[in-house]
Structures are given as structure tokens and as C-alpha cells.
């Protein structure tokens, strides 16, 4: 009886083994690294809006304070989105005929709110509270990135649980003096108090308390 396999079969079998092993490794890597990629977490992808509002222009250029529009950021869980009224405080005078602003004027005209598309979104079972973060010295920039550089709003960080928890384990590196909380592109200088000092003076809870499940999930 003549054997059915030629010498090539050995090579093939080796290759098959290799392929199997290789694909396993690749699978693991994809599963591991995939979710944290910017593509998967949409970091750095500008989001289309009904009105192409530019933070770069309003914050970077005109130097508007965050709280001018996001009024409840210091008192409420949500930072608050400006009513059309707020836009019109200026735009009833400036760029009154700009095509770009038509939806805003329209909204005011027929009393229909503007529908912005959410950029920094958390799942419904996550309860984030802006006010406490602002109160304890976390700057807007820390999570939202330097919006003064964003013509169109985009996600600056993954906002994945791992990312949140990292800071909750040790907020010190991200703490700012109150004065700098709403600044963009801020860097600590020689005389800015250290993270440790701020941590103490703000009476921030221990890592154990800050990583309790109930801090974010209810």
C-alpha cells in the first residue's frame, strides 16, 4: 500500500499548527487591545452637530468661561446645556444673518429646541456628577480635553471605567487649584500647590472610598 501523504504534508501540518497558534494569539490581542483603541472608543473623532459650534472660537478665541453656557456645572450632576436664549444673547447682535446660525434663529422663532448630539456619553447605569468633581479641583480639561483646540467637539478620553478608576485610585496628579479649573491648556507652575497639598486641603476621600461601586452605580 502506498502512503497517501507526500513530504509536503509535513510542511503543511507545521503551517497549520502555526496558523492555529498564531490566530489564537491575534484573537487574544484584539480582544485585549481592541476596546482601548481610539477607534473603538471614538476618541478624537469630531462629531457632526446641527450647528457647527466651535469651542476653539468661543473658548480659545473669545475666551468665554465654561460656565457662561454650562451654568449648572458647579451645582448639579449635569453641566447643563445652554438654552437657545443663551446663544441669542450675543447672536441677536452678531452674525445675525450668518447661514451657519440659521438653526439657532429657527429654534428661537418656532420655540423648538436645538438637538445637539452627545459627545461624551456614559451608559445609563453610570451616575457621574459634575459638581463634586469641580468642587474638589478636577478641571474641565482633565476629562474633556483642551476644548479651546476643538473646532468641533470631540471625545478626549475613552471615558471607560478603567480610565475613571485610575484617577479615583489617585486623583493627586489631576488636581488643580480652584483658579485653574476652567482654564484650558493649563500646566502647573512652580508656585502651584502640589497634588498632595490639594488632596489634603480638599479633604478628598481615600482610594478605597472612591473606588466603591456605589460611587458611580446605583
Amino acid at each position: 500500500m502506498t502512503p497517501i501523504f507526500g513530504p509536503a504534508a509535513n510542511l503543511v501540518s507545521k503551517l497549520v499548527l502555526l496558523a492555529l497558534g498564531g490566530s489564537l494569539v491575534v484573537l487574544l490581542l484584539v480582544g485585549w487591545i481592541g476596546p482601548s483603541t481610539e477607534w473603538a472608543s471614538r476618541v478624537g473623532y469630531p462629531v457632526e452637530q446641527p450647528v457647527p459650534f466651535s469651542h476653539k472660537h468661543h473658548v480659545g478665541g473669545l475666551g468665554l468661561d465654561c460656565r457662561f453656557c454650562h451654568t449648572t456645572v458647579e451645582t448639579s450632576a449635569t453641566a447643563g446645556m445652554p438654552p437657545t436664549h443663551t446663544c441669542m444673547t450675543c447672536h441677536s447682535q452678531l452674525w445675525t444673518n450668518a447661514q451657519m446660525l440659521a438653526p439657532v434663529r429657527q429654534s428661537l422663532a418656532d420655540d423648538k429646541p436645538i438637538q445637539w448630539t452627545r459627545v461624551n456619553r456614559l451608559p445609563d447605569y453610570v451616575y457621574f456628577n459634575h459638581s463634586i468633581h469641580v468642587a474638589k479641583g478636577i478641571g474641565c480639561e482633565t476629562c474633556h480635553g483642551n476644548v479651546a483646540q476643538m473646532p468641533l467637539m470631540e471625545k478626549a478620553h475613552t471615558l471607560r471605567m478603567g480610565w475613571c478608576v485610575d484617577c479615583h485610585r489617585d486623583p493627586r496628579p489631576n488636581l488643580r487649584p480652584k483658579s485653574a479649573e476652567f482654564a484650558m491648556g493649563w500646566h502647573p507652575t512652580a508656585e502651584t500647590p502640589s497634588g498632595d497639598e490639594l488632596f489634603k486641603q480638599e479633604h478628598i476621600h481615600t482610594a478605597q472610598e472612591l473606588t466603591d461601586c456605589s460611587v458611580c452605580h446605583r
Binding site: T75, S76, Y125, I132, C213, S214, V215, H217
Partner: protein, 952 residues
């Protein structure tokens, strides 16, 4: 779910002529099969594997942020607002504060400033918020079943008005319920002045005529008697509804409980309570001595007592009477000034008059006030006129007489003889089916109005949200009849009060709205004296029938108006633990005599000839030969939730005998299954509820703590709870509050029968002693938040863990549903979403509490001590860098509890309310031998028995 579909837009609905047909074809969504019927199942079979896969995928669909166009003054996105109002139920107003989130009311809380609430809220009150969002509310004017335009009706009435102007309103009749609203009363008075030929009638299914009648017999005028339990050392309750459903019951319960827990707080003297009743009541359950007597016996016994305390002729003491009467009499007469008698609204006027007489003789702590409600002609005369065809136009303001009017009036036929009948109601109900016109009513939370509390205090009803349906209000309807230039209900209310209020009205008005109470409007005290001919004037006691049927309001559905409310349907009845059902309560002895098995269907035929078939339920503590039936069930025309639930026993009622009637009973041989949430009725010899006599030496026995592991330290806040079993009256307000606060879905009858009810805090009811004279104990059981929690250790994914405050927290989104935690919970307080209950719940998305996760299918859930409230307070405190104040965090159950049985707080703070309560020697932990170290503990139940009365 198609019900969701036609909820979507009411405008489009009202225009659609086939909309009624649409409803006709609606049938209840099976809560059971998770909304999956065979067809859908087959469709999905192919895709299901993929579905399962998608489950894991974490990418979210795009979401929109919709800010306002113009800012709303005082509104901060994400910050709850609290707006006061009052809710008028059965005529009487109770103050409430609604919690608004994201611009919509999500939770009802009691108004501490309102005398009828004192901050508490009962189940029916809290469930009102669900009525507001009921997707099955009537939303269109109907003319004999067809949707018509509102203007059609207004034009029609405009024509009528010209006739009335000539005829003086002859043939115009208005039917309302009990009326305490100053505005409406004034409007009606004016209307009757405008049309002398018109008439105003009242029909209140939860009638209190006997109460007024009793006052008439005793004092010659219909004064109202307000018992003052805070001053009462001895209470004699005659099937009393004082702490369960009487006007002001929340306030009474508060005062009552303060005296009952004297032993644990060490403040004041514990009261002693005797209850004499034919069917168990809440006050009977917490009484020290409870005697089950037939109605006839109750009267004779009461006569005997009256005579003994000198409020009646001695011959009343003739004949044999129970052995305990003398002891009770002795106790009463040695406590003159601090002993009172209270009889329930369902008792005969004779009994009420006797109670008055005894109180007078004892100079009992009772406040007499002028009646709060405004009277009018009764429904009997109205029905007669209608039958006679004398009624041309009938306006029914609220109420559903076609369903709940006494059967012998033949109201439905009468209604058919009325040329123009207009009904204002929230649902297209039984009456709407007969009336010529049905007008959708605004929900009280969408409407303006006012009403008086049990003590006369007035409050303004103000809208909480822009109407969800194009409804109309009572004030508007009356104004329409009167042809007033404005129909705006707000204007009606303001105008009325402006006339009666001196000074700068606008500021005063603003104050009223803010506080939710109009100060100094309580009814004046009435001076009373017992009629000289009182004893003589009493009707002779009627001969007792062989079998008495007691027709009683259902504890939660009451007259059935709220029958479409899933929360109330599924809230276990305090004593029977029944849900989604009513039954015939029968004493064990009687059941044995009639050879009735549990849940055998019996047919009850009243003396009036009406028949009902009801499943029998053997109820310990029921008087022999007495069958109790509860009203509010068997609705035929209402939403899918309440339709055909239970049996309508209202048809046994007759104008003369609303609350009881002689009847015959015989088994039908059929068998039914009742839905209940508790299967084991006694404690099986275990010490779940610990009871101690007041006299017993109170030694707190220490529990040994054996553990291989070191104790986990909790140095920050350590949240804990204590529940006073002497105070708990089992009313179920806590369960209702929890359901509202924590987005607990309704699972439906089928699922309850499959033991899948979802309530986070259940009120266990145990029978003790003998079946005929049982001891009744209630025990609210929330999560114990064990420090050494057995549930956490067995979870393979760490979905339930401890936080630094020592709370046993549940992370829904981490749960994979192994259900080991529930197995390992000795208290069985964990609940599981066997189906997507929340998804199947017909309530609109906007009605959920946005601060609490709505749980999906396949995850475990349980009491969290209202973690959302804790976190809110923690964040507020951290923001301004201060510790959390004691009492700053109030759990929903604690907040609603009328008796303040539940106290929550920081057990690390020795001065906190909870610590002081836990310090009592009565404090004990449930199943402490398991060493789970629960944060929730109980204060043992204390009884204050009369040594002169032998046990049992």
C-alpha cells in the same frame, strides 16, 4: 407593545375615529411570557444566537441633548425640585410634595406642614403618581362611544343654557362625590342660585353617613369627632379605621404609634388598646386585646359598656356578655379623661352614637368640630327623579356611579333615561359606557383646585405638569354650565380665595402654594352635649341574621377608582397578603362548619337577591358567621391593568345597607387560586418577630461573634436602620414608597403566583395564638445590609459588594444572574428579573426615576437603603466640606411611614436617632445566630395586656 403605540400621541388619537375600535381590540399584554408570543418567538429563533451575542457589545447608539429654548426660572438641570400640592381623595385633602426631576414629577412625598400628612404618605396617595402616567387614561371626549370634538359639547351646552335661563334650570342635575372644595362648593352654590330649578346631589361610595348619623343620634347635630390618641392611655377600637383609612388616618397613626412605642423610646406611657371587631383591622392587629364579635354582638356589648360607664340605662347590661367586658369597663372607668372609644365608618349609626355616649361619659380626649364636608341631596332621590324621567341634563363630576352606586337604585337604567348625561372621569369607565358624553378629566397633578383636610384645614391643589392628555377639570365644567366668561380653573380658584382673603392676596397666595397649606383654616370647635333622650331614641337592636356579609373597601383599591393602578393591585393586602384578587374572608370555625377548603369558590346571595361568586379565604380573627368581601374589584370598563381583576361585590350593596347585609352562602364546588405573596402564615416556632410584655424585665442578650476573620473596620459613616415592631401597623406605605422611588416594576398576577414579586421591602404578617383569637404581628423586611454578607461571597463576578459605608451594594450592570446570592440570603430579600419586567411595564419612560437604574432582564436586585439619596447627600456635604447631618438622609420607606417605625442613619454617630433607637434593650437582629451582623435591626414588639383578662 401596541399600548405604547397609542400612548405616543393623544392629538392624533383624538382625531382618529377608529381609536375606540383600537381599544376594543386591545387585550392585556401577558406579563408572563416576557411579551413573546409564538409568532415572535419563531421569528426570533433564527436570530437569537446573534441577539445573545449583541448583548455583550458595548457600543451605544447616538444620543441627543435637548436644552430648553428659554430658560425656566428656578430650574437647574439635574437638580430635583419639590413642589407642594394636595390630593383630594374621597373628598378629603391630604398635603403632598412632589419631587420633580428633569422637569417632571417622579415621586410623591407627604407634606410635613399639612395636618393630614405630617410628612407621611399612604399607598393610595403615593400610587397617584402612577395614575398620572397611566397610558390608558381617557384622552378624548366621547359621544356614545365615538370620539367627538370638545366644541361640539360646548355648543350643545350653550344651547342648553338658553333653555335653562328660561326654565330656571329645571331638569338640570349635578352629581358629585363628597365635597370639601371651597371653590367648587361656592361655584355650585352660585350655579344653584343662577338656576333655582337645578339640584346638586352627592354619591360617595366610601360613605360616612353612619358617622354623621351617629353624631345626630348622640348630639342632635352631625359634628365630627377627632380622637386624640396622643392623650389616650386606653383605646377601645370598634372595628376602627382610625389608623388605616379614616380621614386623617396618617395623623392618627403617628400619634397612636408614639404611644405604642413608649417602652422603647422611654417617652410617655404606653397605651393599652382593646379592639372589638367582626373582621380584622390594622388597629385590631396592633391591639393588646382583640375580640372578634359579630356585628349584633358588638352592639349589645357596646350597650353594656355604655351602661356600665353610666352612659345608658342599666337594662343594657342584662343578658350574658363576654367574660372580658367587666375588665374593659373597669379599665375605661378608671381612666376617665384619658380613655377613648373610636368606631369605624362602616359601623351603624347606633354604634357610633354609643361610642359618642361612652366618650362623653368618660370625658374622653376627643375634639368635636363642625363638619368639614359640604352636604347635598343624596343619590337615592336623584335616581328616583331619573327613573321618573324628570332629569333632562345630568353632569357627573368624577365618580363612577354606574359601577359603584347601590344596586337597588338601578342607576344604569336610570342613566339611560336622562336625555343629556355628561360624565367627567379619568378613564372611559362603566359610567362612560352609558352616559351620553364622556369628558376626559385632568389628573389632580395637572389641575387647579382646593380641598379641606379631616380637620378642616384647606390647601390648594396646583398642577405639577402640563396636561399629558387634553383633559378638563370640574371647576371648568361647572363654569361651563354657568356660562362664566372664563373657564380657566386657576381663575376659579384664585377668584374664590381672593374674595375671602383680606390683605395683599398675591403674596399670601404665593405662600399658600409654597407651603401647600392655607394657615388658620381649620374648622372651629363644636360644643356638644349628649341628648337627653339619647338612650330612648336608639333603634332597637335588629335580630342577627344567620350569616352576615360585611362589605368593606379594599385597603388599597378602596372604591375601585384606582383599579388601573398596577402598584396598588400588586401591593399585598396587609392582613391577607392577597394581590390582584379579592376573596370572601371566612372564620376558620365557620369554614370548618361549611366544609370549605381553601380557595373554594362560594356563591353568596344577599337578602336583596344579588349573587356573587368569590373564592373563600380562611381568615383567622374573623368573627364567626361573618363573611367579609372587599369592594373595588371586578371593573369591566377600565384599562388593561384593572379590567376583570377580582369580583365586583358592590352589587350586594343597597342604599339602606351599604356595609353589611344578611346573606346565604353555599359552595359551588369550583376551585380558584388566589395570588398571594406569603405562603407560610405562622412563624413555625421561630423567633422572627419577638414580643415582650411591657412588664417583662428587659435584658438585652449579647450575641457572641465567632469569626475566623478579623472584623472589617468602618470608620466613616456606617449606615444602619432600625424598625420598631411596636410601631409598625402593616399599612404597606413603605412598600409603595420603595416601589415608586426605586423603579420597581409591576410583574402581574401570573408572575406573583409564580413567586416572582419584586418588592424590595416586604411586610411579613404572622398569625400567632389560636386561629379564632389570633395574635397578629407585622414585620417589614428590607435588605439587612449584613456586614458579613453571605450573598457577596458567592457571587462569581463581584456584582454585589460592600462599600466603605458598610452598605451591601448591588451593581446591576455587572450581574450575570447566577442567583446564588439569593439562595445564600437567609432573609430572602433579593429579587430577580426573570423576565424583562421593566421593559414590559406599560408606564411611559418619562415616569421612571432617572436617578435609579431601570433593571433589565436577568439581573438580581434588592433594597439599597436608597443609595441614590445617600450619594446625593454625600455629594452635597462634600461640596461644602461638612459632615452629613443626622436625618439629612431619609430612605423612601422611612419617609412614607406614617408611624415613624423606620429610622435610618449613621450608627457610628452615638447621638444619631438610629443609634439611640438601637440602644434600647428591645433591639435585636433577625437570625442573629447566623452571624451575618445585619445593619438593619428590630425593636421587639411590646404588648401591654390587661392582667385582669385571661390569655386567649
Amino acid at each position: 407593545m401596541s399600548r405604547r403605540f397609542w400612548w405616543r400621541s393623544f392629538a392624533e388619537r383624538a382625531d382618529d375615529p377608529d381609536y375606540l375600535a383600537a381599544i376594543a381590540h386591545e387585550f392585556p399584554e401577558p406579563h408572563g411570557e416576557g411579551g413573546v408570543d409564538r409568532r415572535r418567538f419563531l421569528q426570533l429563533v433564527a436570530a437569537s444566537a446573534a441577539l445573545a451575542g449583541l448583548d455583550g457589545c458595548s457600543s451605544l447608539p447616538p444620543e441627543h441633548i435637548v436644552p430648553r429654548v428659554e430658560p425656566l426660572a428656578g430650574e437647574e438641570a439635574g437638580v430635583p425640585r419639590y413642589v407642594a400640592t394636595a390630593l383630594v381623595q374621597e373628598g378629603y385633602a391630604t398635603g403632598a410634595i412632589l419631587q420633580h426631576r428633569m422637569g417632571r414629577p417622579v415621586k410623591l412625598e407627604g407634606n410635613p406642614d399639612h395636618p393630614a400628612s405630617l410628612g407621611a404618605a399612604d399607598a393610595t396617595l403615593q400610587a397617584a403618581i402612577l395614575d398620572l402616567y397611566d397610558p390608558e387614561r381617557s384622552a378624548a371626549v366621547l359621544n356614545s362611544g365615538r370620539v367627538v370634538d370638545w366644541n361640539k359639547l360646548t355648543l350643545l351646552l350653550a344651547g342648553k343654557r338658553t333653555d335653562w335661563a328660561k326654565t330656571g334650570g329645571a331638569g338640570l342635575r349635578i352629581l358629585t362625590g363628597r365635597m370639601t372644595s371651597p371653590t367648587l362648593a361656592a361655584q355650585l352654590a352660585a350655579l344653584l342660585k343662577q338656576y333655582p330649578g337645578a339640584a346638586w346631589h352627592q354619591w360617595e361610595p366610601m360613605s360616612r353617613d353612619a358617622v354623621a348619623g351617629g353624631a345626630n343620634l348622640a348630639f342632635g347635630k352631625p359634628v365630627e369627632a377627632l380622637p386624640q390618641f396622643d392623650k389616650a392611655d386606653i383605646v377601645l377600637a370598634i372595628e376602627s379605621d382610625a389608623i388605616s383609612s379614616a380621614p386623617g388616618h396618617l395623623a392618627y397613626a403617628r400619634a397612636f404609634a408614639e404611644r405604642r412605642r413608649a417602652a422603647e423610646t422611654g417617652q410617655g406611657k404606653m397605651s393599652r388598646v382593646y379592639a372589638i371587631e367582626a373582621t380584622p383591622t390594622l388597629i385590631g392587629a396592633s391591639a393588646d386585646h382583640r375580640f372578634a364579635l359579630k356585628p349584633a354582638e358588638i352592639e349589645t356589648t357596646l350597650r353594656a359598656i355604655a351602661a356600665a360607664v353610666g352612659a345608658g340605662p342599666n337594662e343594657w347590661q342584662d343578658g350574658d356578655r363576654p367574660h372580658w367586658v367587666d375588665a374593659v369597663v373597669a379599665d375605661l372607668s378608671t381612666h376617665k379623661g384619658v380613655a377613648l372609644v373610636h368606631a369605624g365608618a362602616e359601623q351603624s349609626s347606633t354604634i357610633h352614637s354609643l361610642a359618642h355616649a361612652i366618650n362623653a361619659a368618660l370625658s374622653a380626649p376627643v375634639r368635636y368640630i363642625e363638619p368639614v364636608a359640604v352636604g347635598a341631596a343624596d343619590i337615592k332621590s336623584l335616581a328616583a327623579e331619573m327613573h321618573a324621567g324628570k332629569v333632562d341634563t345630568l353632569l357627573i363630576l368624577g365618580g363612577n356611579p354606574a359601577y359603584d352606586a347601590p344596586a337597588d337604585l338601578g342607576f344604569v337604567e336610570a342613566l339611560k333615561r336622562v336625555k343629556l348625561s355628561i360624565q367627567l372621569a379619568t378613564h372611559a369607565d362603566e359610567t362612560a359606557a352609558v352616559a351620553a358624553y364622556h369628558v376626559p378629566a385632568l389628573h389632580p397633578f395637572e389641575d387647579w383646585g382646593d380641598g379641606r383636610a379631616f380637620d378642616g384645614t384647606a390647601a390648594i391643589v396646583q398642577p405639577q405638569i402640563r396636561p399629558l392628555v387634553p383633559g378638563h377639570s370640574a371647576a371648568e365644567m361647572i363654569a361651563l354650565l354657568a356660562g362664566a366668561q372664563t373657564l380657566d380653573p386657576r381663575k376659579q380658584v384664585i377668584d374664590h380665595w381672593r374674595q375671602t382673603t383680606p390683605g395683599d392676596f398675591d403674596t399670601v397666595w404665593a405662600g399658600w402654594l409654597r407651603r401647600g397649606v392655607i394657615p388658620n383654616t381649620a374648622a372651629g370647635a363644636a360644643s356638644v352635649s349628649l341628648r337627653g333622650d339619647f338612650a330612648a331614641s336608639l333603634p332597637k337592636p335588629a335580630a342577627a341574621p344567620g350569616l352576615t356579609v360585611l362589605i368593606r373597601p379594599d385597603p388599597f383599591l378602596r372604591d375601585g377608582a384606582q383599579a388601573n393602578n398596577g402598584w396598588l393591585q400588586e401591593l399585598p393586602r396587609p392582613l391577607t397578603r392577597l394581590v390582584w384578587d379579592n376573596a370572601a374572608l371566612i372564620a376558620p370555625a365557620t369554614a370548618k362548619r361549611l366544609e370549605l377548603g381553601p380557595e373554594d369558590v362560594v356563591e353568596i346571595a344577599s337578602a336583596g337577591g344579588a349573587k356573587v361568586r368569590v373564592p373563600a379565604l380562611v381568615a383567622p380573627g374573623q368573627a364567626e358567621d361573618c363573611v367579609t368581601l372587599s369592594l373595588g374589584f371586578g371593573r369591566t370598563a377600565i384599562g388593561a391593568v384593572g379590567r376583570d381583576v377580582g369580583v365586583d361585590v358592590g352589587r350586594l350593596r343597597r342604599a339602606g345597607a351599604l356595609w353589611q347585609t344578611g346573606a346565604t352562602l353555599h359552595p359551588t364546588g369550583e376551585h380558584a387560586t388566589l395570588a398571594t405573596t406569603q405562603h407560610q402564615q405562622n412563624m413555625a416556632g421561630r423567633d422572627m418577630v419577638r414580643t415582650r410584655p411591657l412588664t417583662a424585665a428587659e435584658d438585652k442578650h449579647e450575641t457572641v461573634e465567632a469569626s475566623l476573620y478579623p472584623r472589617h473596620p468602618y470608620d466613616g459613616n456606617a449606615w444602619g436602620m432600625t424598625i420598631s415592631l411596636s410601631s409598625c401597623i402593616g399599612c404597606g406605605a413603605c412598600t409603595a414608597a420603595c416601589q415608586a422611588e426605586n423603579n420597581i416594576p409591576v410583574v402581574g398576577r401570573e408572575e406573583v403566583m409564580r413567586e416572582r414579586a419584586m418588592h424590595w421591602i416586604r411586610v411579613d404578617r404572622y398569625w400567632g395564638g389560636t386561629p379564632d383569637a389570633p395574635e397578629i404581628a407585622f414585620q417589614p423586611v428590607p435588605c439587612m445590609h449584613c456586614e458579613d454578607a453571605p450573598c457577596e461571597v458567592v457571587c462569581p463576578v463581584g456584582a454585589t459588594t460592600h462599600d466603605s459605608d458598610g452598605l451591601n451594594v448591588m451593581v446591576y450592570n455587572r450581574c450575570v444572574g447566577t442567583r446564588f446570592c439569593s439562595n445564600n440570603c437567609p432573609y430572602k430579600v433579593r429579587r430577580f428579573n426573570f423576565y424583562g419586567y421593566s421593559g414590559n411595564d406599560p408606564r411611559p419612560a418619562m415616569s421612571w426615576n432617572p436617578d435609579v437604574t431601570v433593571r433589565g432582564r436577568g439581573v438580581m436586585e434588592k433594597c439599597t437603603y436608597c443609595i441614590q439619596r445617600i450619594r446625593e447627600a454625600k455629594i452635597a456635604a462634600d461640596r461644602d466640606d461638612r459632615p452629613i447631618r443626622d436625618g439629612e438622609i431619609v430612605t423612601a420607606c422611612q419617609q412614607a411611614c406614617p408611624t415613624q417605625a423606620i429610622v435610618f442613619g449613621d450608627i457610628n454617630d452615638p447621638k444619631s436617632a438610629v443609634s439611640t433607637r438601637k440602644a434600647t434593650p428591645l433591639d435585636y437582629a433577625l437570625l442573629e445566630e447566623l452571624n451575618t451582623r445585619p445593619r438593619t435591626t428590630y425593636a421587639a414588639r411590646v404588648t401591654n395586656r390587661n392582667p385582669a383578662i385571661a390569655e386567649g
